[in-house]
Structure formats: C-alpha cells, structure tokens
C-alpha cells in the first residue's frame, strides 16, 4: 500500500523556480531517498507534504488524506525534521522537547530518554547557545520521540559528525525493520545508499527518475587518486585500458565504474605510495547516469 503519494505536484515561486509535475509514491515500510542538488526542489516537495504550502496544481496524500486540507489530522503519524533548525531559541533542549510532547499530547519519556542518550545530547543548554550539530540532534529527537509510523526527514545528517551519522543510519535501519515508512532527502548519494530502497532524483524542479538504489549504485562511478613511486609505473598506468581523468607529477586520477578487478590487478603490479578515493558529487552521478548535460535537459522537457 502506498503511504505517501505525490501526484502531478506543481508549485512555482515568483522567481520562476519551483517544482513541476512531480509524482512519486512511497510504499508502506519502504525507505525512499529523495536525491537532488541544493535548490532542486526537495524541500519544496516536503513542505507540501507537511501542508505548509498551497500547490498550483496536483496534490499530496499521506495515508490517503490530503496533506494540505487534513494537515492537522495526520501530523501525529509523522516524524518531521525540517531542513532549517529554528526552534524557540529561549527554551532549553529539554523544555522544547517537553513542549513538543505536550503540543502532540503524547506522553511517555522512555523513548525520549533513549534518544537523548543515543545522540549524547545535553538538553540543559538553551537552544540559542547550541551548536548546529546539537540543534540537529534536538530536531532528530523531536522527529523520532513520539514513535510515528512515517518519517519525513529533510537533510537529516547535515551538521552531524561521522559517528553520529552512523548512529542515525542505524536508527533509520532499525525503524525500517519495525515497518516504518521513511522519506529522507539528501544531496549526497552515499548518505542514502545504506538506508534507501529506492531513490527519486530531482533536478531543477523536475523529478528525473525513480530508481532502485542498487541500479543507481551500479551506474555510479568512482574516482581513485593513485600516487606511484616511479615514472615506470606512471607510464604503465597511462598505457593501460583504464580511464585516466588527470595526471599530475606522480598522481594519477583513475575513473572506475565496472572494471574494478582490472584496476586492482594493475595496482598490484605497481609500486604504490598512496591511494585515495575521491568522493563524487551528485553532478557526476547525473553525468554518468544521463551522459551529457544537454541530453539531460532534453529529457526533462520531453
């Protein structure tokens, strides 16, 4: 059964930006990654899912109910994390969490305590004085503490250190195991690949594709920066069938997509002094996935 339904959603801002005819569904128990560069329209879609905005046309449904007209009724089934953390700055963390519990009329402190301990958050500090990471934790705890069936998380790991990011990913996986429906947005593919089942890619306000996460993974290329010790090895790499994107001194950047074994065999023959993986940004994923930029835009229009 589809829990979240976005249908022909169009919402244009005065600047001409916005989202255009976006449609997708998220099934019960599924984790859906909403992927796109900054300004692509992820947050715009999510705002409509929360019932904050009026669409030009199209609509969103959560558990069958219109998210704009029936906004208040569905809120307690949703755990929402906004993109920007703007709470009541004068409150302490614990006061704010208590306030949200009271607004939702959901009691029960055990889940709240668990989450505070999980994220190692000091809740006695005024939110005004909290760092970005701490505020993000308050936001996450707010989203998870009432044990909702659906999560809508906008850029959930921004501001978290790697350790906390791992904890967050584990938390999402746990919730998924419990049958929860999750929509999480990100501008980084690697953030989604551990949690999402499917991903929708949005760019310039248009949903480009909805794909199984594994096929996206397969189509993804990785760039390695190899530092060799001798000129000999440098020529050996250059003469191989590998795709070399740049050479500087004895550093070679190799683009690997399917031919990982060949790459490793060749490396084994060389004298290597350094090997780094260069994280790839989303634009490159797009490039690989759609070939040229021009093709990509055409695809949008047709």
């Amino acid at each position: 059964m589809s829990i979240i339904q976005v249908q022909d959603l169009t919402l244009t801002y005065k600047s001409g930006k916005g989202i255009f005819d976006v449609s997708f569904t998220v099934q019960e128990g599924e984790c859906f990654g909403y992927l796109g560069p900054n300004g692509a329209g992820k947050t715009t879609t999510i705002r409509q899912l929360m019932g904050f905005t009026n669409a030009d046309h199209g609509n969103c449904r959560i558990a069958g109910r219109d998210t704009r007209k029936n906004a208040a009724e569905i809120q307690n089934t949703i755990g929402y994390l906004p993109e920007e953390m703007s709470f009541f700055p004068g409150m302490t963390g614990s006061k704010f969490l208590k306030f949200m519990q009271d607004m939702r009329k959901t009691g029960g402190n055990s889940r709240l305590q668990e989450l505070v301990e999980l994220f190692e958050l000091n809740t006695d500090i005024k939110i005004r004085r909290m760092s970005k990471g701490m505020r993000q934790k308050v936001g996450l705890i707010t989203a998870f503490m009432h044990d909702p069936d659906i999560y809508i998380l906008d850029e959930p790991t921004s501001g978290l250190d790697p350790l906390m990011q791992r904890k967050f990913i584990n938390l999402v996986l746990e919730e998924k195991k419990r049958g929860k429906t999750i929509l999480l947005s990100s501008h980084r593919f690697d953030e989604l690949e551990l949690t999402a089942d499917r991903a929708g890619i949005i760019r310039s306000g248009r949903l480009v594709t909805v794909e199984d996460i594994n096929s996206l993974k397969a189509s993804r290329q990785k760039t390695f920066r190899v530092t060799v010790k001798t000129e000999n090895d440098l020529t050996r790499l250059q003469n191989s069938k590998l795709q070399i994107s740049s050479v500087r001194d004895k550093q070679v950047e190799v683009v690997v997509s399917g031919n990982i074994n060949q790459f490793i065999k060749l490396l084994a023959e060389c004298d290597i002094s350094g090997l780094d993986i260069i994280s790839q940004d989303l634009e490159e994923v797009f490039m690989k996935y759609y070939g040229k930029e021009a093709d990509f835009d055409e695809q949008n229009i047709t």
Binding site: M50, Q75, F88, F99, M100, D102
Partner: protein, 266 residues
Amino acid sequence: MNKTLLKVTTRSGWLVWTIFLAIMLMYKVIIISMFDPDDIESIMAMLEVMPSELVAGMGFAEIGATLTSFIAGYFYNFLAIMFPLIFCIIMGNRLVAAHVDSGSMAYLLATPNSRIKIIVTQAFFFLSSIVLLFVVISLAGILISESFFPGLLEIKPYLMLNLATTLIIFTVSGICFFFSSLFNTTGYSLALGGGIPVLFFVFNMVANMGDEFAWLGYFTVFSLFNPLDIISGDFSILSSLVLPLIITLLLYGGSIIVFDRRSLPL
C-alpha cells in the same frame, strides 16, 4: 485554543507586558498627583506657555476642572493610547509573523493542531493581555485617586472610559495582528502593522490641532475615541463602543481566514 501554546506564549510575552504596565502606572500616579482641586488655574497657566496647537494636538485643550476629566484629558487622550499602541505593534508582530519568519511556526504546525487553533490561541493571548492591562490600569487609577483625593473620582464614567479605551486598543491590536498573519517577514508585518496605527495616531493629533486639518479625522480610527465626551456622558454608544468592537472582530476574523488559507514559507 491550545493551552500548552498559550502557556509558552504567555511566558515569552509577560516581560514586555509588565514593562508597559509599569510605565503606564508610573504616568498614572504622576498625573493624578498633579491634580490640585483648588488650583486648576495654575495648570491652565502652564499650558498657555506652550504652543496652543501642540496642546490641542495632545488633547489637553478642553480639560475640565474635575478629577475625572483631568485624568481623561491628560492620561486617556494621549498616554493611554500611545503606550498600548507601541505594545500592540511589538506583540502583534511577535505572535505570528515572527514565528513564520524564523521558521518556528513549522514546529507548531507539525503537531496535530490546526492553523486555526494556533492562531486563535495567539489572538486570545493578545486580546486578554490588553484586557488585563486595562483592568489593572483602571483599578490602580481608582486606588490612586481614592488615596490622594477620596471621593472625587466619578467611578461610573471612569470605568466607561476604560472600556472605550480597551475597545479602541482592540482595534489597533487587530490591525497589527492582521498584518502579522498576512506577511511572511517581520519587516512587512512591522511596516504595515506598525505604520498604519502610527499614521492613525498622527492623523488624530494633527486633526485635533485646528479646523484646517480637521478633515484628517476621517482617516483615523481614533476619531471614534473622545475621552472627554465619554466622561461628560455626551457620546454615542454606537461609535464609541460598538463600532470599534465590530472593526476588531472583522480584523481578527480576517487574520484567521488569511492565515488558514495562505501558503507559508516554512
């Protein structure tokens, strides 16, 4: 109405409220203590030194010789409008637009409380804070008057005056609240929600200065409010009480509808 939100709103608003109450009480004590039943002429003489347009603008021109009309002229004509007006501008902006501008409204709406419930709660707080302000002010006025000049204050007209003042400030709060609900940023909310009441206030002052500018009186709600007429009993209930109340209801009703229907940039 949501009690939890009301509590939080009250907690964040009581300080501003208390400051305005304290300023107004201070002025009230000063003005009542200035009254001298035996020597009202000396005050009149003092006023004559000042430019007559200015005195008229502040509504001090036709001050009678009784304590009640003295308070009506000096306190209710000017101070009892000006300070609550500033209070309304600050509070009106805070109650809705500031939450939308900062984004904290997203958290309020991410709870199972409808927009109408949220905004009605804020409106309830706003109106009750004004009622409470004037309840304290008017009771304090009675106490102060009785201790300085026992038996001189005419309680009934005095209370009627406080009721009329409360209603005209309701109207001002409605203007502030409406623009606070309508706009996404505190900038616009303050520009119109603050600018219009201040303009009304200035128009009223200028209109009172003399016949030349009396026509400005048609462009301000404060024309509905004449403290000395109310004290003397020579006033129309319709224009002094009923009309401000109707405008208030329309403005608050409009605020609720606008806020419920519009797109919020959260």
